[in-house]
Symmetry: C2
Subunit: 398 residues, 2 copies
């Protein structure tokens, strides 16, 4: 019998859930509760009979999870029937402490609470999700799966910033990296797809969603990644700046009279594609680029230039590269991004096949030419499946 | 008859000067006035008879330049005898306005003054140097040579940060790049050294001094560079952090109660090699590394890891690379840095020759293997010579 894990991803005003068949990775049911605490909330549930949507006020994360349970009860699939083996929680920041998924107990809750200063936007919501789920499923083992864990293999040379060493040793200021669940899943899948032993494969993964990050993975082990102490560093994202001259903060404070919190907010929420072109949806951006909109074109060019620089940087870090893998919304669908960011890299052994790259397709696929020494792949990420498998491994499942 | 240019580099409390023979690049005389305005200043002058050093209070930049003129008079060479054709001033920030050296007049002074907000640490001192030299040499043409000018060829995709576009369009927040005089000189010299047409040569220059920057130069034209709006971004430097997660400012303000000015100061003056290992002198660092000091080793590794990433990034930006060129104090002398930062890049066609690299030598030289598709060069930079030539070109000299 296949085992199911309820995967929970709690945001500050949202709660995503999926009932994952850990064998196949399929979601038997899933849903999203949005605008928790606001005047009008919304609950979307997908079950065996399709999608149902309910509007109405949802006060707390506890109410949101109760609504999910009700939906499973009413619209299926029945949680009792599938026998849930564990609850798996996505937790954004595990600091230097967590290199693996961990069974949730009071001590773990305390440890994640201690990490809130490193992820003030994310960890509090994840904690709320864990607390609520423990109340509603007191009998089920629950597991925290950290976004940072996969990157705990970075060497000090890759994770240490060139700042006073005490900032790292006393204040935990270092590179952690995020999207680890996705990078782990996608790099393992790429080895499977290529029929290669993951231990012998060097891969650069480009996770391009609303958040974007690159990772250099040597033999299944993360050796460098573009997000840093927080998910703000690195690639250009939907609304985040990524890399920036660190003198710009003081300049804005000095010249424009901003507070550092205002700068921080602008870099997280009003920058990236949204800052450059007015919107963070890549589909719209691509449409505007095709229509010849120069502002959209600039945003597209900045986005792809940054990706190209990271591909080169991680090529140098790895020394040899077997595959470059695109994943997440933009990575899986943006043929234009893949073509532009890998264009002109023949000298590095990277040759996209235009027809393969442009072909509308869904699953894992090769988009490089047959004679390209470096394989370029599109691999759909499945963070829920990865969380389900890791949670199950912790609770002693298959 | 060869022409001479008096090159002036004015810092906030120092003034460097060199009387450059624009034909040979040799300094007929040169000097450094330090600790201007402090209780005890110092003036070092090098002339035909060697070095003289004078201690004593030096109140202003005008006094400093007068002391220089006295030293030329007393110790030689005589400025009247060599017939100075122009005064060339190093100016750090030329913003988007200056892509070339410019004859100094009142309008130019106003334009550089308007750029002070972009370079509050540097432009005011450069301005003071220009004002003083115009008073003392009213009859000589004077030329401003900008550190940023060489990088004005960057495309918008390379110079635009992923922040609200208005920050760039209304507030000049973009990448400018610095060390342009050095990058221009060294890339031209590398073509000469290789006997190649500069227009057909792609070069990555690594200027590694107290300040450090990398540049990607295609056919003599700068297409990307690591320093940004200010000289803080990019490589690890003597006391500057280079690249950093831009969320760290708000974190330090929030968690440690710092002001953004304190953060900015720490990133400029207490970071880099000094922050990691306690000192910004690379010779001392190398000695400690050889002695097995793990803290020095970490600083060295972080420094070289960052260089390696930029080499890869600019390799990807350029597509093909003919030469990688090391210059400035660390670049010219640090065989250990060259070996570590280019190690493992055989797949990119980069093969250092250990014996050549380790050989004690002074001039321009090849340190890669004969069968290395990419030439690795050491080229001593000579910013004064470049400034002298550019100044002379502006005033219509040879
Ligand atoms: N067909 C498509 N073409 C281009 N971009 C797409 C397409 N579908 C989705 N995207 C983009 O993917 C991004 C969201 O990716 P996703 O992986 O869902 O994000 P996340 O999980 O980080 O929230 C959005 O910018 C969206 O516009
Ligand atoms: N022989 C050497 N070996 C290693 N590093 C050296 C050597 N000589 C000078 N340096 C280093 O070069 C750096 C200064 O370079 P320089 O080009 O003079 O700086 P800048 O012009 O930026 O002030 C210092 O870190 C110094 O320790």
């Amino acid at each position: 019998m296949s085992e199911h894990v309820l995967v929970i991803n709690a945001g500050s005003s949202s709660l995503k859930y999926s009932l994952i068949d850990a064998g196949s990775g399929k979601a038997a049911g899933s849903g999203l509760v949005e605008r928790i605490g606001e005047a009008e909330g919304r609950h979307l549930h997908r079950g065996p009979d399709g999608e149902t949507s309910t509007d109405g006020k949802i006060d707390t994360h506890e109410d949101a999870l109760r609504a999910a349970l009700d939906a499973f009860e009413t619209h299926g699939p029945s949680l009792d029937a599938v026998e849930v083996a564990a609850v798996g929680h996505r937790v954004v920041h595990g600091g230097s402490r967590f290199a693996d998924p961990v069974l949730i107990d009071d001590e773990l809750i305390d440890a994640v609470t201690a990490l809130v200063p490193l992820a003030p936007l994310h960890n509090p919501a994840n904690l709320e999700g864990m607390r609520v789920a423990r109340r509603l499923f007191p009998e089920l083992p629950q597991v925290a799966v950290f976004d940072t864990a996969f990157h705990q293999t970075l060497e000090p040379a890759a994770y240490t910033y060139a700042v006073p060493l005490a900032w790292r040793d006393d204040h935990d200021i270092r590179r952690y990296g995020f999207h680890g669940t996705s990078h782990a899943f996608v790099s393992a899948e790429s080895a499977r797809f290529l029929g290669r032993d993951p231990a012998g494969l060097n891969v650069i993964v480009l996770h391009l969603g609303n958040g974007c990050s690159a990772a250099a993975i040597r033999g299944g082990v993360s050796v460098d990644t573009s997000m840093g102490m927080t998910p703000l560093e690195g690639l250009v994202m939907g609304s985040r700046s990524g890399d920036l001259d660190p003198a710009i903060h003081a300049h804005l404070v000095r010249e424009l009279g901003w507070t550092v919190e205002e700068v921080d907010h602008a870099l997280n929420f009003d920058s990236g594609l949204k800052g450059l072109a007015g919107g963070n949806d890549f589909r719209e951006l691509s449409t505007r680029v095709e229509a010849g909109d120069p502002v959209a074109q600039l945003a597209f060019d900045v986005y792809c230039h940054r990706i190209k620089k990271y591909v080169g940087a991680y090529y140098a870090v790895l020394g040899t590269v077997d595959a470059i893998v695109f994943t997440a919304g933009v990575g899986q669908n943006g043929a234009d991004v893949r073509a532009a960011s890998l264009g002109g890299l023949e000298r590095l052994g990277i040759r996209i096949d235009a027809q393969r790259n442009d072909a509308a397709a869904d699953g894992s696929r090769l988009v490089s030419a047959d004679d390209s020494p470096v394989a370029v792949l599109v691999i759909p990420t499945n963070e829920e499946w990865q969380i389900a498998r890791e949670a199950l491994a912790v609770v002693g499942g298959s």
